[in-house]
């Protein structure tokens, strides 16, 4: 999992972007609300003007605005909203939507057959499977229940008995939204619980102790049986005190270990541990040095790393053309056997945050890039050096390590280590000597092997002050799914206030799809802005496909046709760009599942950001829905 720059933002940073307000979520939200209101009024006026003439149209729109502020919002009653919500809930339940939960559970029962137990990290596979399955199932369900209900009521005229009661348009829209959210919640909770048991039970397995070697002094080493397509070896120390059981641990295979106990000459293998984790990382900042030791922000690009994307976090600033570049974090590499290094600065490194006696836990997920075959059997060698950021002369001796590719290596930064305090070589204390007064610590990582490269990003190396519970982390993933569901329901209800059921469904689906495709749209605009031939917009692409032209050649049609095609494409791409920017960033929300699957605690600030964004979009959808319902002739 590679985190992107915006993942590191705290809630307030995301909201305000102190350095560049144009990128802030707040500004994006304000622009969106203002545009929605202006466009709504303009569109509403145009429609009414066509229907009732220019002046009457104005009155109709003015009345809707006046009623909202003067009577409909103040007059909105909780009891009526609750009644309407309950109705929507009952309707969905009595139409047996809960069958979907049953289908999900049945799906889980058979999913075990298809999830590869030979995978190197079964936990990640299981967790990402259940989260993805629930996510899309719930989103589709939200899409269906939210878009069909109101149009069905209007078509069957049941709505007549509602709007002839003192029910306000605000209440109808809110009631639906709340009702469907309740339905979704009632379905999501059992799915979440089923998923939890599916993952924990699915990963549970036993081994037998098959081979024991007595090392003397009460120490043992041995092998566990080959079960679930893997085996372990273990070592066991003598019991701490006579009468207590002897404890040993196995090696880590497929992301888990077992605890082995010796009780009354019997060896008992415990359940797998460490497979389901929720590490709370403490990230630092990263700088590189090049092969001569000069500071460099990016590291070496070994090629094929610069993927497109990461435009989305630029907010409004990208839309108005202030920034246009991809803002994606890629792996930077350091050259082995030179002065090239990656320098991490960690903050707030205090004994109270890291009370562990043996040292600070640090984890690394590094990539290796080889330019020569070298010793292919063992991994690349690297070293870790700790340094005091205030006085770089105070530095520990390097701690050697072997790079474990595609895996998270757990290291410990020891509390005491031999090093140089600038004057002499002595034993340095981590907190006393190496951590600066304000709690900063520099960790320098180097590649030792010549002509080989180690790659890293900000999120690849982190300190791990604490661990959260897996169950709570899974719950947070489900909260994220719940927020997506709320978003889809709000959009669905909004569209259903003025479109027929199937059309509202398609419109909502288009919004979801465009949200997912946003980065590609931004990319298309990026190339358009720079005048690069990268296949062009939709029409140009079509022409190229039919003519079987390559993507990067100049469009081979006559000048006028080319001009027309490019103009239409530009109009389409810029409109799509504007729409995609104004839509919720669903892939980001879906992406939180990856945190749980990779065993990282989902940042609370990330969840808070999603929650606030969802709330904002619900308000916009609510206002638009209200406006359309209010100005609509129900019986027309």
């Amino acid at each position: 999992m590679t985190l992107q720059p915006e993942d590191f933002w705290s809630f307030s940073e995301w909201l305000m972007r102190p350095q560049s307000f144009l990128e802030s979520a707040l500004l994006q939200g304000i622009v969106l609300v203002v545009l929605a209101i202006l466009l709504g009024l303009l569109l509403g006026y145009l429609v009414s003007a066509v229907r009732y003439g220019p002046s009457e149209g104005f009155y109709a729109v003015a009345r809707a605005v006046r009623d909202l502020v003067r009577s409909d919002l103040p007059g909105t009653s909780a009891r009526r909203i609750f009644a309407l919500a309950r109705l929507a809930y009952k309707e969905a339940i009595r139409r047996r939507v809960l069958v979907v939960v049953g289908l999900f559970v049945v799906g889980l029962l058979f999913a075990g057959w298809y999830l590869d137990p030979r995978s190197s990290n079964p936990a990640e596979l299981y967790i990402s499977f259940v989260l993805t399955a629930t996510n899309f199932l719930i989103l589709f369900l939200a899409l269906f229940i939210s878009t069909f209900s109101l149009p069905a009521d209007i078509k069957s005229r049941t709505i007549y008995t509602i709007v002839t009661k003192p029910v306000r348009a605000t209440e109808i829209v809110l009631g639906r939204m709340i009702g469907f959210v309740a339905v979704g919640t009632v379905m999501l909770v059992p799915m979440a619980i089923a998923s939890y048991f599916f993952v924990t039970r699915g990963l549970r397995h036993d081994h037998e102790v098959v081979d024991i070697k007595d090392l003397g002094d009460g120490r043992f080493t041995g092998k566990l049986s080959y079960d679930q397509f893997h085996e372990h070896t273990f070592t066991m120390d003598a019991p701490a005190a006579p009468g207590e059981p002897a404890l040993g641990t196995t090696d880590s295979v497929r992301g888990h270990r077992h605890v082995v106990r010796k009780m009354n000459d019997q060896f008992v293998v415990g359940e797998p541990v460490g497979a389901l984790r929720a590490r709370i990382p403490s990230y630092g900042t990263l700088a590189f040095t090049d092969r001569s030791g000069n500071i460099d922000t990016k590291g070496i690009d070994v090629g094929n790393e610069k993927e497109r994307g990461g435009y989305g976090n630029a907010g409004v600033s990208r839309l108005v053309g202030v920034t246009g570049e991809s803002n994606r974090l890629d792996y930077g590499y350091m050259e082995g056997g030179t002065l090239g290094s990656a320098i991490y600065t960690f903050y707030n490194v205090t004994p109270s945050r890291f009370p562990q006696e043996d040292g600070i836990p640090m984890e690394m997920a590094l990539r290796a890039f080889r330019t020569i075959k070298g010793d292919i059997v063992s991994g690349l060698n690297g070293s870790i050096t700790m340094r005091n950021p205030d006085d770089p002369k105070i530095e520990s001796n390097p701690i050697p390590f072997v790079v474990q590719e595609y895996d998270v290596a757990e290291e410990t930064l020891p509390r005491t280590i031999e090093g140089n305090d600038g004057n002499a070589v002595r034993v340095l204390d981590l907190f006393e000597d190496l951590v600066s007064d304000d709690g900063r610590l520099e960790v320098v990582i180097r590649c030792v092997d010549r002509q080989q490269y180690l790659g890293t990003t900000v999120s690849s190396v982190y300190l791990r002050p604490a661990e959260s519970s897996f169950a709570w982390n899974l719950a947070k993933s489900y909260i994220s799914i719940w927020l997506q569901m709320v978003m889809v329901i709000a959009f669905g209800v909004m569209f259903s206030t003025f479109l027929s059921g199937p059309v509202a469904l398609v419109a909502t689906f288009a919004c979801v799809l465009l949200g997912f495709m946003a980065e590609q749209v931004y990319d298309m605009r990026y190339h358009l802005d720079r005048g690069e031939d990268m296949g062009g917009g939709p029409i140009e692409s079509m022409v190229r496909m039919v003519r079987q032209d390559a993507m990067t050649t100049e469009l081979d049609v006559d000048a006028v046709a080319g001009k027309i095609i490019k103009t239409i494409d530009a109009a389409i791409v810029y409109s799509l760009d504007a729409i995609a920017t104004s839509l919720p960033n669903l892939p980001k929300m879906v992406g939180t599942a990856e945190y749980a699957a990779s065993g990282y605690d989902i940042f609370n600030s990330l969840l808070a950001r999603h929650a606030v964004a969802t709330f904002g979009y619900v308000i916009i959808a609510f206002l638009i829905g209200y406006f359309f319902l209010k100005t609509r002739e129900i019986a027309a």
């Binding site: 409909d72 309950r86 007549y160």
Partner: protein, 352 residues
Amino acid sequence: MSALIDYCYRSCPVYSLCLRWVVPVASDTTALADAPDAAPASSPQSDVVIETRNLSKIYRDFWGRRKVAALKSLDIEVRKGEIFGLLGPNGSGKSTTIKLILGLLFPTSGRVLVFDQDATETSKNERIGYLPEESYLYKFLTTDETLDFYGRLFDLSGAERKRRIDELVNLVGLQGARHRQLREYSKGMTRRVGLAQALINDPDLILLDEPTTGLDPIGTRDMKDLILSLRDQGKTILLCSHQLSDVQDVCDRVAILHQGELKELGKVSELLKVQDVTEVHARGLSDAAKTEIAEVIRRHGGTVESIDNPTTTMEDLFLNIVRESERRPGARRVSATEATIEKVASGSEGKS
């Protein structure tokens, strides 16, 4: 807060423009005076519950093209405590009028005032009960749930809802079926639930769209009796129907629409009175006496059109058969038709 909003609103220049559109102009009496209405002129203005002024509705298609003019310049007034009937063939604009009054449609021109408020105001609905043409109810709810739901929409408290629901279930006679989903109901039963929901708020104005469709003769009679008793409680009722006999039986005043235009408006008793025909009802006359009476009429210059025995209505006949059958279950009355008709005729002389 609302005072502040009110102030901001009033200080806004747009307000004066909006005023014309949104606030009823109480002093505008010209329209009232011009209304071609046969009602007594002495009735005070505050008695007017529904007023339509020059009300027109043109249906348009999606592109705004004119499709049909459903209502043309309708001016009617419905006064407090009367039963007002809208009559007309299919497509005459009855339902359009009701929908305009309810705010389900917006007028193309002219306006509708209900309780001196614009018809599109939501707050007027507090005092309105509406029984739609077909009972558009949620089929997945039971009677109790339906009534509870609509009660909540009026913001009634739990105790109040329970009291009203018990009352209404008894009134419409659905005690035995309170906990069954409406999808299992017959059309007549659904209609009764529809009526109950229209009365849940104890409304001052009740709008009934084809109240007797789907009802059997007993249900029809009950409905008519109920309408009359609601009127006696001081409620105003507007109904539209093409069941002419229903209208004749219950309405105080009627408006007859055809092709969206008002053709006739007035009191039922006056509209139906045939001015140059005299009707005499008598009992126990011999044939000789009848001949003599005919002779007297001729002598006075009148024309005898018929001297005959009156017939009863099919409704009365049916109701009597059913009531008789309920009184004596299982009794056969196959050959008794003649006798029954005699009996009915003698028992309901006041009716014909």
